[in-house]
Symmetry: C2
DNA sequence: CGCCACATTGGACTTTGTCCAAGTAAGGGG
DNA sequence: CCCCTTACTTGGACAAAGTCCAATGTGGCG
């Protein structure tokens, strides 16, 4: 994630403690946190960071394409730092656990012309739902 | 949609003016309204209907499987009365217009065992995004 | 018709997110 | 190395979306 910090510096961002902490929180595999979860973890490292700054920073990262917004649950938006490798999501319907997945095939190609209604279709988001091994065992 | 009212009566629902109005509002093709939009249209037909009743009724319809919740935008949930024919959605990124679509192929089959992480995968939701003809013209 | 379990209501409350005016500090120029 | 400019941060007010509840109303059976 320090490459992210490099890229941001390159884009003229001022490097603040707050932005460094948000970037740190968004590091790792299968990370799909809500804004408030990001804030809670950021506060653990930098107690005075505000909710507004977390929202601002996440919004900026999204508009730079460094982080994706995903709508896997129907409540809060989740922020996905894995923006550079296209992927989809597998969500546990019971506990909400989220995994990145890489299905075969190209769902864009599966949408025939007759089903496009004149739209310029550019993107597709696929969410698989099921029950994770943990929840199935319980 | 009067088949819906029949089915509900069969399930022991009391037939109230409010429930009839909500069912009426949810009639038609490509209908994907937010709860507040449902409420606004219901009020036009029955001015004293409350927001709480609209939320209650929508929730009941969803848990009976008569209506689907879809999360095509990242703001309010949308309610989809087309619950009995499986389909996916095509959304305009500019104006939010939503169309039902029926892609070829079965995306569930495209998720290899090695990408299932032990989940029992039962469902998949596909959202295509693009620009509708109207917005492209403007 | 009368009853009562179920349904509806309005408002308070929660969650998620946005906005703003005032204060703070990054970092380039001197 | 310090100062100044300007971008950044902050807390709190506000808004939108949704939940909950005690009081009230009513569908439909007997
Ligand atoms: Mn992801
Ligand atoms: Mn639909
Ligand atoms: Zn689970
Ligand atoms: Zn459009």
């Amino acid at each position: 994630m320090s490459d992210l910090l490099e890229r941001l510096r390159g884009r003229g961002w001022r490097m603040t403690a707050q932005r460094r902490v948000v970037a740190e929180v968004l590091d790792g595999e299968h990370v799909h946190l809500t804004a408030d979860e990001v804030h809670a973890r950021a506060v653990a490292k930098l107690p005075e960071i505000s909710r507004a700054t977390v929202y601002n920073t996440l919004g900026e990262l999204v508009s730079l394409g460094e982080v994706l917004e995903v709508a896997t649950d129907k409540r809060a938006k989740r922020y996905d730092p894995n923006a550079h490798r296209p992927h989809h999501h597998l969500v546990c319907a019971r506990c909400g656990a989220i995994r990145d997945v890489h299905p075969d095939g190209n769902p864009l190609a599966d949408l025939p012309e007759s089903e496009r209604f004149g739209f310029m279709v550019s993107d597709v988001e696929v969410t698989y739902r099921g029950v994770c091994p943990n929840c199935a065992a319980a």
